[in-house]
Amino acid sequence: MTTTSTTANSPNKTPRRSSASASTIGGGYQLEVANLTKRYGDAVVVDDLTFSVPPGRVTGFLGPNGSGKSTTMKIMLDLASASEGHATIGGRRYRDLANPARTVGAIIESDAFHPGRSGRNHLQILADATGCNYARVDEMLEEVGLIDAANRRAGAYSLGMRQRLGLAAAMLGEPPVLILDEPGNGLDPQGIRTLRDLLRSHASSGGTVLVSSHLLAEVEHLADDVIVINQGRLVVQGALDDLQQSAALVRTTDPDLLARQLERAGATAERQDDDGLIVHGISLAEIGAHAFTAGLVVHELSPHAGSLEQLFLSWTTDSETTEEVIEL
């Protein structure tokens, strides 16, 4: 096991790196969500959602509050039923997996423990239920930095410690698939970094990681791919690098005229500085052609790497949800 030891004695000490980095995680489980719809009465929470999550990569699952992320994850884990469509893990529904809890590690509720029970007891119960060795319990407590607080009541844990306990529970069975709903909530910067290292290590070992988060900066550092949903519908999915490069910066003598030309062609353009435009939905060559047609002098025409936050806002603030899929 390639772990780095820690010297701090505080319960808040830095978690250790996962042993997942030491070995290749077998299986190559791909997650598939196909035409998933979930209705509660008249309310459609998830609306004909289709996406896939490949192994060996960290996939960020993004969307505004109430967009259906958690519901989708619960359906993937058979905690909720789908009104239509289905979700599979390695081609099988969760309930049909041979040993589901050792195939998929999940964080769905950050406080899914009895406050009067110790952290160690909580993990021992999970070890009992999943058939894990008890030695693995202390190993995980050590890895997430909770070993010194293992016999304390979990109700007395800080939010960050609870998240670490949840992470330890998810990783207890050494599962090849991780489905984590907001695992970074309440973690301090060290905890965030350790989580990032742990998930990246898991993916690089062949594991499949689907992680939802509203911390866009965290996802930007963590995810290889992103899936964005809004109002239960898919907005965009693809490799984060490609998505971030999908905009163009153009500087010209009359940006307003060029913006009108481009918008007529179906692109979106927003002003940047005095003479610049950020353009989405059209290629560099087409932008150049439109500028030429309009008789404009172009000072600069280059790919524009937008921040995830900018992209996220542009994807999720439109009144109509549109789907954009960039092939991986």
Binding site: I108, F113, D128, T130, G131
Partner: protein, 248 residues
Amino acid sequence: MTMTRLIRAELRKLTSTRMPWAFLLVLLTIAAINAFAVIAGTDFDGSKGFISTEADQQSLVAFAANGFILAALFGAIAVAREYGHHTVVPTFLASPKRHRAVLAQLTAVATNGAVLSLVGAGLTIAALALSLPTTEYNFLISANHVAQILAASAFAGGAGAILGAGIGAVVRNVGGAVTGAVLALIVGPPLVVQLANGTASWMPNVLATVLAGVGNDVSTPAAVGALAIWGLVPAVVGVLAVERRDVV
């Protein structure tokens, strides 16, 4: 996932919080009240006639009816709190075929309920035995009757716990589940008896006294079956509800 593992996990859940200790405290209190009654209590004529015969003493320590109610409250709290604290989430992740998880939970709760009730009966009998030397009477209950009281208490405790667990699984809220158990066992039966003639013999407290050997309203096998039905009907409803509903 084997049932043995699931049951082991459920047993650990029940024994890794303070709840069993709280119930043990209740049992000790009941035993202490019984002991105080033996030491200080008298009949209207000032005598201690209420402990003068084996039947009198057996009535005093027939714990099965109390065990049924206490175990029902235990089961209701044990299961409903699983939903309140979301600890059913890892349970159903480990066993997505939920009926298996619920059956494991019912098994564990029934075992704990039986043990609690058995301990309650044992404490009550011990309290009687320890307090009798302060009176002119000896301990008169035969070994066979002691065994019957203990067995009846254990059985009633198991059945009561299953009843409470079923209510807990349906209601999924500790306050609501406890209220449901109180309505089902304390408030409901007298109302039913008033509304429907001939039902008194089939109420759980009466059935429990039959099992403990201090009542003869129905036969012992009938009492066993009826008390089991009292527990199983809510439990089956609970299993069906858990299978059908979204977990969170």
